[in-house]
Amino acid sequence: MKRHQYRADALIEVLHKAQELYGHLTEDRLLAIAHSLHLPPSRVYGVATFYHFFSLTPQGEHSCTVCLGTACYVKGAMELLATLETESGLRAGSTSADGKLSLLTARCLGACGIAPAVIVDGNVAGHADPEVMRARVRALLDED
């Protein structure tokens, strides 16, 4: 926050940083941010919930995001997601009980040329094959 000189218009950058440091945003942290940027808590909460990037719940150690954009959809993203849901026993958008894996979906990753696309821990995997992805998800879940 110091880097942004406590400017109110740096709110999004500050939230980015906070999420990077702590993994997710809690109400306490949002209150603290509101206090130091001299913003009403409603504004901070509003911004944090408006943008899909920010999360108010803890995320898993690993993440697997399946793109459901138009190009990925026609290339079988739904079957891919169903495979991964069955394999991990998670519903899309949830995190496993042991905090190992979050299975997420995205509306469009902007990687339509390599559809269907999946992001595993920040790395984009193009032309994702359900069987290969199933093995990767299994490996993430079984990891100690």
């Binding site: 408006f50 943008y51 899909h52 954009g69 138009t70 469009c108 990753l109 339509c112 040329g113 559809a115």
Partner: protein, 437 residues
């Protein structure tokens, strides 16, 4: 017809073009050096105007004219580069930045010089974290070379470029929502007028251009208007980077001059390479999810703003999605409207409620197969209440998939309704009928 000289995707085969020195070796930053030292800002605006450069973000508005809307002698003013590329099917901005970041930065710097502003922001989509880093490194290199910062090349001109990361919201690609987001607020669009050129970021005059638009500027300044106009058509000069995706053999970004027929992009072995498994084309979406659909009979439509508009669609961001006969129109419309529902910012009622209801009806109809006899009039009714009544273009765009699907493939909706009806009748066959017909 291959391009001998690319404009937007220039020198991509030149190794390490993303390094500053390498970009300079192929004449990079030269246009900017000359411009700042020898040319007046007005000359550059005039060149861009004469070159007929049109905004590549979707609307195709002439860039030079947009620049001249700035009120005189009102400072500070801002230049924003819109890289919130989130339209389903669009993926060329990302590639420009990843492969050749200096070209964009030079474009931003030149344009900032032309409109006499001293602060430029590049608004990156939150998901492009890696690309944002690439861009920041490239900007640092330019600072070190004295091309950005204070008193550039001893001319007394100052310019700072900042990269701002968004946080995952499609609506922030709308120019006024982008400014709101840049100010650290919820990205909801503002009422226009006042237009951004008059009162934009922090209430100051602001110009917003797309990445691809700005990437054109260095070449226009370097090689001149006549050279630029030798590409493309009279009304849409230059080239366009088309993002081809869907059921084609070779999806990817292809730069073509405006006016090339759709057929060439899809079928030429140089570009799309034809349809996968040689299946017939069913739907062509020529400009991202917001564009009305075309079909196989439109293959000879020339890809320029006028040609696609004459065929009843829009070129938009140049994201061509081609779908074959295995997809069902109601399902595609459902998936696309689900996107718009998810991304609706919630500011105006027609969009917030309209997208919601469209998705509800389409989900029941397309996903679950439970259709009501009057679903088609219901869907028509919902989108008609949205069209023309939304605050910004997001809601208007959400109308397009369902409207196109209903217009082009009504029989598919009818078939679902018929099958559903028959099932319902069978279900009730063993019970006392409620309605005697």
């Amino acid at each position: 017809m291959g391009l001998s000289d690319y404009i937007i995707m220039r020198e991509l085969n030149f190794p390490d073009i993303n390094r500053f020195e390498r970009y300079c070796q192929v004449g990079g930053w030269e246009a900017y050096r000359t411009a700042v030292k020898e040319q007046t800002p007005a000359t550059i605006v005039q060149m861009v105007k004469e070159a007929g450069l049109r905004g590549r973000g979707g609307a195709g508005f002439p860039t030079g004219i947009k620049w001249s809307f700035l009120p005189k002698d009102v400072f500070p003013r801002y230049l924003l580069c819109n890289c919130d590329e989130s339209e389903p099917g669009t993926f060329n901005n990302h590639q420009i930045i990843d492969r050749n970041p200096h070209q964009l930065i030079e474009g931003v710097a030149l344009s900032a010089y032309a409109i006499e502003c001293h602060t430029a922001y590049i608004y990156m989509r939150g998901e492009f974290a890696a690309a944002a880093l690439t861009l920041e490194q490239a900007i640092d290199e330019a600072y070190r070379a004295g091309l950005l910062g204070k008193n550039i090349l001893g001319t007394g001109y100052d310019l700072d470029i900042y990269v701002h990361r968004g946080a995952g919201a499609y609506i922030c690609g709308e120019e006024t929502a982008l400014m709101e987001s840049l100010e650290g607020k919820i990205g909801q669009p503002r009422l226009k007028p006042p237009f951004p050129a008059v009162a934009g970021l922090y209430g100051k005059p602001t110009i917003i251009n797309n990445v691809e638009t700005l990437a054109n500027v260095p070449r226009i300044v370097e090689k001149g208007v006549a050279w630029y106009r030798s590409h493309g058509t009279e009304k849409s000069p230059g080239t366009k980077c088309f993002s081809l995706s869907g059921h084609v053999n070779r999806p990817g970004n292809y730069e073509l001059p405006f006016g090339v027929p759709l057929r060439e992009l899809i079928e030429s072995p140089e570009y799309g390479g034809g349809m996968k498994g040689s299946r017939p084309i069913k739907i062509i979406i020529p400009g991202g999810a917001s564009a009305p659909w075309l079909t196989a009979k439109h293959l000879d439509v020339p890809l320029d703003y006028e040609g696609v508009a004459a065929a009843g669609s829009m070129l938009g961001s140049g994201a061509v999605i081609v779908l074959n006969d295995t997809v069902k129109a109601p399902h595609v419309a459902y998936k696309m409207d689900e996107f718009f529902k998810h991304e609706s910012c919630g500011k105006c009622t027609p969009c917030r409620e309209g997208t919601h209801w469209l998705v509800k009806v389409l989900h029941r109809l397309a996903e679950e197969g439970h259709a009501e006899p009057d679903d088609i009039p219901t869907l028509h009714g919902i989108y008609r209440q949205m069209a023309g009544n939304c605050f910004c273009l997001l809601g208007e765009s959400a109308v397009m998939p369902i409207k196109s699907a209903l217009e082009l493939f009504p029989e598919e909706f009818e078939a679902i309704i018929k099958a559903s009806n028959e099932r319902h009748q069978r279900n009730g066959a063993h019970a006392i009928p409620l309605r005697v017909s």
